[in-house]
């Protein structure tokens, strides 16, 4: 088992910079999600680590050793591909056995290891089937068993759950996490599903246009995004733009918003504030402002979306539409068109340098 260090890695295809000076330290035994929109360079980064492609600049080390001159087959990585890439001519058991058999392990050892790996992914009885006789979720598990049976140092997964439906996806997330804990392998998981990244990983790296936007534990990125992009890409956020005052920002209409988390921005500079929709309290226009929630705005409900356990209100205010999520506690529901007061605490407000 080993950590992976990516240091100042760049990779261009023609004039297009698919990776631009990316540095990430993947800790030994951690579960790491790489998140980013389509074309942001997630697969490209994974391919550099796997050794299918080589960086133009920068350094990649696995277990503290530079892998610059190490070919794929010597890197001791396990990879799960988005399309599973199972060998169609081999049975499930032979697929899983492949990595051990090219190493020339004795047949008895191989059979035992293969059975153990198949049991781990709960496919112990299906070793004799061909890949085309399996369901999507089963194929995905075979691909996982095949990748881990060789005891790789690092497990790389490129959107492994992308092709599965929602329910199966959640099952597989839990299963994958269980297996990862059980064998304690360093795992790098590419996804563009933010929920998946939040629920599964110890740390998240957000990529955009080949650059690493922010990196850290899910809570930290969610609570203290360092850019508007990070704030809106991972979860929902209301963004206010204005001039920094030293303790918050002043909107163009003169309203001030106090923020007690986030970056230090010198007064007068352009800055923005991000507030999560579930941190905002919404009350009818006549209600008294709550002193604990020092930030207050007034507006008008333009739309309400009821989603069972919660409701989302869209509130129009000075040309901007704000989003507020309210738990369904059985309290009075607000009607569309009703004037409302929004209030939230400076602790829930993140200051972001423009």
């Amino acid at each position: 088992m080993a950590g992976v260090q990516v240091a100042n890695v760049s990779r261009s295809f023609g004039a297009h910079k698919a990776l631009d000076n990316v540095s990430i330290d993947f800790a030994d035994g951690g579960f790491y999600a790489l998140l980013g929109p389509s074309g942001s360079g997630k697969t490209t980064l994974l391919r550099q680590i796997a050794g299918f492609d080589f960086p133009d600049a920068g350094r990649i080390a696995i277990g503290g050793e530079s892998v610059e001159r190490v070919p794929v087959e010597k890197r001791r990585i396990g990879m799960v591909f988005q399309n599973y890439a199972l060998f169609p001519n081999m049975s499930v058991a032979d697929n899983v056995a492949f990595g051990l058999s090219v190493r020339g392990e004795p047949k008895v050892t191989i059979a035992a290891e293969v059975q153990r790996a198949l049991d781990l992914v709960q496919l112990g009885k299906l070793g004799g089937r061909k890949p085309h006789q399996l369901s999507g979720g089963q194929r995905q598990r075979v691909a996982l068993a095949r990748a881990i049976v060789t005891k790789p140092r690092v497990l790389l997964l490129d959107e492994p759950l992308g092709a599965l439906d929602k329910a199966l996806r959640v099952d597989m997330q839990i299963e994958l996490k269980r297996i990862q804990r059980e064998i304690g392998i360093t795992t790098i998981f590419v996804t563009h599903d933010q929920e998946e990244a939040l629920t599964m990983s110890d740390r998240i790296g957000i990529l955009r246009d080949g650059r690493l936007v922010q990196e850290g534990p899910p809570e930290e990125i969610y609570d203290r995004p360092q850019s508007e992009f990070a704030a809106t890409f991972l979860g929902d956020a209301n963004i206010f733009r204005g001039d920094a005052t030293g303790s918050g920002i002043k909107l163009p209409d003169g309203t001030t918003i106090a923020a007690s988390t986030g970056a230090a921005v010198p007064a007068g500079a352009k800055a923005s504030c991000a507030v999560r929709p579930e941190r905002i309290r919404i009350s009818p226009g006549a209600a008294k402002p709550d002193p604990a929630n020092a930030n207050t705005l007034t507006g008008q409900v333009s739309k309400r979306i009821f989603a069972g356990n919660n409701s989302t209100y869209f509130v129009d205010r000075d040309g901007q539409t704000l989003k507020v999520i309210v738990q369904n506690t059985g309290a009075e529901r607000l009607a569309e068109g009703q004037p409302v007061v929004l209030s939230w605490s400076p602790d829930s407000t993140v200051l972001i340098a423009a």
Binding site: A50, F52, P71, V72, E73, K74, R76, I77, G78, M79, F81, N83, A85, L86, F87, P88, N89, F98, G99, V102, R103, R146, A147, T150, L156
Partner: protein, 289 residues
Amino acid sequence: MADQLAIGSRRGLKPALPLLLPAYLWLTVAIFLPLSAMVFFSLMTDLPVAGKEWSFTLGNYAAFFSQSLYSTLLLSSLRLGLEVTLWCVVIGYPAAYVLAKVLKGRSREAIFLLVILPFWSNGLVRIFSWAMVLREGGILDTALNAVLPFKINIDLMYSYPAVIIGLVHSYVPYMVLTCYLTLQAIDDSLIEAGRSLGASRRQVLWRVIIPLSMPGLIAGAALIFVPVVGSFMEPRILGGRTGTFYGTVIEDQFVSVFNWPLGAALSFILLAVVLIILALAAPVLRRAA
């Protein structure tokens, strides 16, 4: 695949009849009729032309077994077929691999065209141009002597290698095409998966790529082996005196000796031998594919 076909035929035979009819008609007219005429010929003592007397006989078939010349020639023709097929694999498979997996875009199109070119040139022209290349004082001889510091004599004309060269050139496009089609269908991620599991390039080739391209190799081999065993043009023109094979003997019966009954009988024996070989090979090939 097989069960899909079965379902298709069970459900769809009736509506498909009008579609199938022309094909069956064509097969009957183009293959079955001439073939039965040839069966008829092969059982005659002589051609029924100019009022000659004729009767039914098995003598033409017996001739094959009574004279060892024919079976010797058939064996050397089978060997020729095997060798040409092997050379086509050795040359055609790597070419197909490069076309399918290495080249991209325009360069792929250009090379593809070069591979197909022998298909589009007239067979006789192709063979005679090889004669120009291979003979003493020909293009190959002159070119090599111009480059090499010492004098060598290249005269491949009228030899077994010349026949092989000519046949391989004519038939290698089949191998390239069939292998190209199967290789192209192999997802690159399978190759990457193999490598990520610790297999070297060579191991991936032997354990993943070649098994998956077996259908193409087999189809190519069948397309090449069968006609090469019966070939007569290349052996005759490029082989000269050494170019007597089973195919040239059959041709002689039809073209110069006018012993059509014997020629027809010899062809049917060839057909039977080829079918037996394919039938014997089928289980092995099916497992490989």
